[in-house]
């Protein structure tokens, strides 16, 4: 039985996002023609259908939109973490991201509280963008 956590699937569209995350930069996909921001990446811009898109650095600031706590592991790799929290973040630039909260338990925050990105280097190929309460430097 594998106890490995699922890794993000890296394909031609998403590669830029994961390369930037490994370098410590949060990005979203931005259309070079109309400026629309979106995440996850897509082969064409959902606003104007352009294929000219880039992974653009964002502020890393967002707000806590919601959170849940898993008491059941749907992957064996998460069994040792139970119960664990997952958060929904609304980035300042618009897109939503599912992630985890670092340095605090979600009960200590209110919906709408400010968050900022931090990075969790899982191994040499994968770094996951996570979030912590804004202004909390540790």
């Amino acid at each position: 039985m594998s106890t490995t956590k699922p890794r993000p699937r890296i394909d031609t569209v998403s590669k830029g996002f994961w390369d930037a995350a490994r370098a410590g930069t949060l990005t979203v996909q931005r259309c070079d023609d109309c400026g629309h921001n979106h995440y996850p990446g897509s082969p064409v811009c959902p606003n104007c259908l352009s294929s000219n898109q880039s992974w653009a650095p964002v502020s890393g600031r967002g707000t806590l939109l919601s959170w849940v706590r898993f008491h059941r592991a749907y992957w064996d790799g998460f069994r040792d973490d139970l119960p664990y929290a997952v958060i929904l973040v609304g980035l300042e630039e618009g897109p939503l991201m599912i992630s985890n909260l670092m340095g605090a338990e979600p009960e200590s925050l209110k919906i709408g509280d400010p968050l900022e990105v931090c990075f969790d280097a899982v191994d040499e190929t994968t770094t996951l963008p996570k979030f912590r309460p804004a202004g909390n430097t540790r």
Binding site: P6, L65, F70, W75, F78, K110
Partner: protein, 376 residues
């Protein structure tokens, strides 16, 4: 007025059938689908060879289903095995019947999730967020309910009203899987699955099958049962956040509002005329979101609306009188449409809503749908 409103009272549900619900490892989706079809055929008294339209959902292969049933249709559609498909399929069949693409459409849904140990999460359906441990459809509803709580002060005790009312109905339904009575305190004490949701907020997973047979108003007159008319329907998708499956930041409110305006406009009724509601309930919060979108209460007011047994037979808005997905059977909306038909026919025994004449189905999902059924 929408052009499709001309379909008002044009198409009837004439036959319904379902299998027993439970754990049936000795058979499979085809066996269950065939039994539901046979029962629906017996229900309406139609010669099965007259069925010239076939829609299947969660049945692996339409052609094998057709071979088993000895059908040679001229209209076939396979719907993906998603919970939101029931009303989508019924509306497609109604349009096909009206267009003359077929004369009698059989819609068959079968599920063998219990005996095959399907758990609807993790390695069965890996997604973009699995690396963060966000791995199951129920979690999306937990995210939405947590937000509803924060924005509107909705409580888990109010949410419990949904599960408690549906369990009460299941105890009045001989076919239903769950028979143990539950209370609000039982809901509060149940095992957490994905907080803030607990076990009693989750649908069942069980085997079973459902079949509906539809035809035009004219053809319906020659069949055994009093026809149940499709008097209204409405539809709106929300695909913009589909990478978070089964999730909408605003609880599909705008989409269900739109659906409500279409379905009530077509049927010529309003929420106050609805005698019973059949509400897609994969997870209990969906019911709250549906009530708000349809206008039974304002946005954010569903918690207070359901308090005190509102959703029970005998309450202000009897809802999921068969017990729903939470306590009757995980037939993904299909059994709820059958229950709507049986309520209109007056066949529901101890759970019958007296004089039910306007029965509404609704599914608040990324493909929101509603259908209003009335007597023919």
């Amino acid at each position: 007025m929408n052009a499709f409103h001309r379909l008002k009272d044009r198409i009837a549900v004439v036959g319904v059938g379902n299998t027993a619900y439970g754990n049936f490892p000795h058979t499979d989706d085809y066996g269950l689908g065939a039994e539901a079809f046979r029962r629906a055929i017996e229900d309406c008294g139609l010669d099965k060879n007259k069925v010239d339209g076939l829609g299947v959902c969660r049945v692996p292969y339409y052609a094998r289903m057709g071979e088993i049933l000895g059908l040679a249709p001229r209209w076939t559609v396979q719907f993906p095995p998603h919970g939101r498909m029931s009303a989508m399929a019924i509306i497609e069949a109604a349009a096909a019947l009206d267009a003359g693409l077929c004369d009698y459409a059989a819609l068959i849904y079968a599920n063998i999730g219990r005996s095959r140990r399907v758990n609807y999460g993790g390695e069965e359906s890996p997604g973009v967020w699995d690396s963060f441990g966000f791995t199951s459809p129920g979690a999306a509803h937990a995210l939405m309910f947590q937000r509803h709580r924060a924005l509107y002060g909705t409580t888990t005790r109010q949410l419990a009203e949904v599960s408690v009312a549906f369990r009460h109905h299941a105890r009045l339904n001989p076919d239903a899987v769950m028979k143990q009575p539950i209370t609000i305190d039982d809901h509060e004490a149940a095992r957490p699955i994905t907080e803030p949701l607990r076990l009693l907020d989750y649908c069942l997973i069980n085997d079973g099958a459902v079949c509906l047979i539809l035809t035009t108003k004219e053809r319906a007159k020659d069949l055994k049962q009093k026809p149940v008319m499709i008097s209204g329907f409405g539809a709106r998708e929300a695909y913009r956040q589909s990478s978070i499956a089964n999730f909408d930041l605003n609880f599909w409110y705008d989409e269900v509002r739109d659906v409500a305006s279409q379905v009530y406009g077509m049927a010529g009724v309003g929420p106050g005329d609805v005698d019973a509601l059949m509400c897609y309930d994969n997870f209990s919060p969906t019911v709250l979101f549906s009530l708000e979108g349809l206008g039974f209460c304002g946005q954010g007011e569903s918690g207070g609306f359901v308090e005190g047994g509102t959703l029970r037979v005998g309450g202000k808005l009897p809802t999921n009188t068969d017990g729903g997905h939470l306590s009757n059977s995980y037939m993904q909306g299909w059994a709820l449409n059958v229950e709507a038909v049986r309520q209109i026919r007056g066949q529901c025994g101890a759970r019958q809503v007296p004089d039910a004449e306007v029965v509404q189905f609704v599914a608040a999902t990324p493909c929101s749908r509603s259908i209003i059924y009335t007597p023919g």
